[in-house]
């Protein structure tokens, strides 16, 4: 096994454990967990199972790419762009919800204050 393959496998295994812990703490959803698990398993397999690397080589050639690294980087970038887009959308949704809550609380407090006026100190 080449050193880079060992490093990739160790990194993949570590991340797999961390992601599983996050799932157990309910900090990520099951669907998100499946996505990350597939990614870390692929990394471990590339490092440890030579046949998997051959499959990657086949996919690389089939797609007209020069080396497996082109295949990995191209798809990694595509996945990252998708993740950035989804995260941006999620942040915008949360931002919107926070605003609604802040406005709701402000209006509710105003109503309560009108019903139960407090004396100014």
């Amino acid at each position: 096994m080449e050193p880079y393959a060992i490093a990739a496998a160790i990194f993949g295994a570590t991340m797999l454990i961390l992601t599983t812990l996050e799932l157990r703490r309910r900090r990520i959803r099951p669907l998100q967990y499946l996505f990350w698990m597939a990614l870390w398993l692929a990394l471990i397999l590339v490092g440890t199972v030579p046949q998997f690397y051959s499959a990657l080589l086949f996919a690389t050639e089939a797609l007209g790419m020069y080396t497996p690294i082109h295949f990995v980087t191209t798809f990694s970038i595509l996945i990252l762009f998708t993740l950035v887009y989804l995260l941006g959308k999620r942040i915008a949704d949360l931002d919107e919800k926070i605003s609604l809550i802040v406005q709701h609380v402000a209006l509710r407090d105003a109503t309560t204050e009108t019903k139960n006026p407090k004396k100014e100190k």
């Binding site: 926070i98 605003s99 802040v102 406005q103 609380v105 402000a106 209006l107 407090d109 109503t111 100014e120």
Partner: protein, 218 residues
């Protein structure tokens, strides 16, 4: 016909008391929306006679006004005024804005800083304002010379029909376009504005580009 003045404020402790006191001379009540100021804005406003509604997080001028409009619609006032808390607008000009609504000549009255020679308005802001006003006029289908003015009066029916969604400075154009689409009459009157050199807040170039984009995309 009762009128209510709505003032969005963020860290305006130096000026808000004077603005509230001035507005109370012409309006039945004043509502200050404190956008999570860390200074004494809320306390000073209360002392001056305003009702204060506070945001627990800073959301922006548009959101503060939107909260104010929602609160205002729970009152029985028929005319809603908006003005800045930094003392830029002269409260003694409030009757000029409300008169057009009282005479049933308008549903929305905008105090335009650009109908008369805009003394004191920085050149960059004047150019940006002209561009945004031209775009807003196109989107609204009616001539507006100062689409970014926060000194306005609205007939109750306008806010019952629509309240803007924008949380930042985009509210100013958005609500005019919504009112125009609802066939409400928009009129402008000239107002003077005071620009204090130490105050640098207001619509920035980034805000201007956002307003331009959202207006064009409507």
């Amino acid at each position: 016909m009762g009128s209510l003045c709505i003032i969005p404020a963020f860290e305006e402790e130096a000026t808000i008391g004077r603005v509230v006191a001035g507005a109370l001379k012409h309006c039945g009540a004043v509502l200050v929306i404190d956008d999570n100021s860390q200074d004494q804005t809320a306390a000073v406003s209360r002392q001056a006679g305003a009702t204060v509604i506070g945001h627990v997080l800073r959301l922006g001028t548009g959101a503060a006004l939107s909260t104010g409009f929602r609160a205002a619609l729970k009152t029985d006032s028929e005319i809603f005024l908006t003005m800045d808390g930094d003392g830029q607008h002269d409260p003694d000009q409030i009757p000029n804005l409300t008169d057009l609504i009282l005479r049933d000549e308008a549903d929305v009255v905008v105090g335009s800083r650009l109908l008369s020679p805009p003394a004191g308005m920085p050149l960059g802001k004047r150019i940006g304002n002209r561009i945004l006003s031209a775009t807003t006029s196109l989107a609204a289908g009616t001539q507006i010379t100062d689409s970014q003015s926060g000194f306005r009066a609205y007939r109750r029916e306008v806010l019952e029909y629509a309240i803007h969604q924008a949380r930042d400075y985009r509210w100013a154009s958005e609500i005019l376009i919504l009112a125009a689409k609802g066939n409400f009459r928009i009129r402008e009157i000239p107002v003077a504005a005071v620009y204090l050199p130490q105050r640098v807040r207001g619509t920035s170039i980034k805000d201007g580009l956002k307003i331009l984009y959202s207006t064009v995309m409507r």
